[in-house]
Subunit: 279 residues, 2 copies
């Protein structure tokens, strides 16, 4: 086998953030400070951590972070009012509603209330459609991160068979469409898929986005496949059984340090781009 | 092999239209006449024929058809003005912009100017997103027709491997998402796909949406596969080489008389549904 590449997400994220620094400075020279508003509803500890991480990442880059924390008992209408206020606030360039919201809230309606111009997290239905039709500005951040890693390492995609495991609205579906737009042949698998291992065995590119720890096993993997692990399960464990897969793959993302850090850098990139478009 | 089914699109379309008759009558009792506005730009003879066929199909069902024919030299702005006027016209329940428009027009912008409530042909970016996220009211009509045929004949889809050949915004992409939402494992192939015959050979369900006459050959087809031919090439020729495929398939749509007639019935169904939602 040719030399194997461990796809270093921290390095990719650093490159992205370095290139953003100059753009943030250029905006500040025009008296514009990019601003990301995050909304957290309720008290889920991991969500609190994620929101804090995103806020810190903004801060390090000179992006203003406006953190809104609403109580668990917030109604859908109250949340929509908050989103509408942020849509109308000209100092805000991006809005992120931390998923998941409490069960009594209509999350899809809340997502779709975010103005498409400020949907830097890529959660709206229309934003998904734009991504699928290949003219979206702000694809969902994890799919965008996967494509960024593919681009950074010049991994071959065109004509290749990509197998995506998972079909969520912010991960499996958009990454499938993005790979398709890059001329991959794309198979989307999920919990109802029959003969999953045999299908994965055909993949030149595997995207694991299933949300189950160590789900993808080494003996499902074709020698030389590229593996992108978008999983992030409790205890920093990916969807890929790294130890058994690393010996087969030609390139693989570790967890942590793979897709995750690049995802946050995509959020920052989209926020800066949104601010530039208003400048 | 078990008994083979020739999937009779004319029969499916008749059933759909029969069920719509009562709904149109019920609307008329409330003094509502469902109305489909069609816009044709330029003088492409096949487009003229399609628009006329759609108008006639409306007429036979008691749906009013408002046919707007704009000259070849219409600008994008002029077309958008026309669409906006129809969006605002309360007597109009559905708007269909006949594809393709002349090259100098921004077709995507024109499609996306159609109000989502009146997008009965399923061409808007947001409508596609809604379909992909499984809450769309008006999926594109050809994908909707394919699903209607699958439902009518109770063809098994869940867990099965569906291979879609083609990735257009109104056919390959939406039908892939609809099959995925019906729990099929879906592979999307296209002009850049390597080893296409080998991939098609794995399919339990084949959707041919490539726009090339007799493209899918019998020796690509697994014994017992279901074949849905969305092709409609010059001379009434499908994308499937019917004679070589019919001996392999457990069920197959002919061309003509397969997906085509059901597609028009889906347009009528969406127009009636849109009128009901305003009643």
């Amino acid at each position: 086998m040719e030399k194997q590449i461990i796809l270093d997400g921290k390095h990719v994220a650093k490159e992205v953030k370095d290139s953003l620094k100059h753009r943030v400075e250029a905006l500040k020279e025009q008296d514009i400070t990019p601003c990301l508003a995050t909304i957290l509803v309720g008290n889920d500890p991991s969500s609190e951590t994620y929101v804090k991480m995103k806020g810190n990442a903004c801060g390090r880059l000179g992006i203003r972070s406006m953190q809104i924390h609403l109580p668990e008992e917030t109604t859908t209408d109250q949340l929509l009012d908050q989103i509408i206020a942020l849509n109308e606030d000209e100092s805000v360039h991006g809005i992120l509603l931390q998923h998941p919201v409490p069960r009594h809230i209509d999350e899809r309606l809340a997502f779709d209330t975010i103005s498409i111009e400020k949907d830097v997290d890529g959660v709206t239905t229309e934003g998904f459609g734009q991504t699928a039709f290949h003219f979206g500005r702000f694809p969902s951040c994890t799919p965008a991160a996967i494509m960024e890693i593919i681009n950074f390492y010049n991994l071959e995609v065109e004509g290749k068979h990509a197998v995506v495991i998972g079909r969520s609205p912010i991960l499996g579906k958009p990454v499938s469409m993005m790979l398709l737009n890059r001329n991959a042949t794309v198979t989307v698998c999920h919990s109802k898929t029959e003969n999953l291992p045999q299908i994965v065995q055909q993949a030149d590119v595997i995207v694991a986005a299933v949300g189950m720890p160590k789900f993808v096993k080494g003996d499902w993997v074709k020698e030389g496949a590229v593996i992108l692990d978008a999983g992030y399960n409790k205890g920093n464990i990916g969807d890929v059984d790294y130890d058994s897969c690393v010996t087969k793959a030609s390139a693989i993302t570790p967890v942590p340090g793979g897709v995750g850090p690049v995802t946050i850098s995509m959020l920052l990139k989209h926020t800066v781009l949104s601010a530039e478009m208003k400048s």
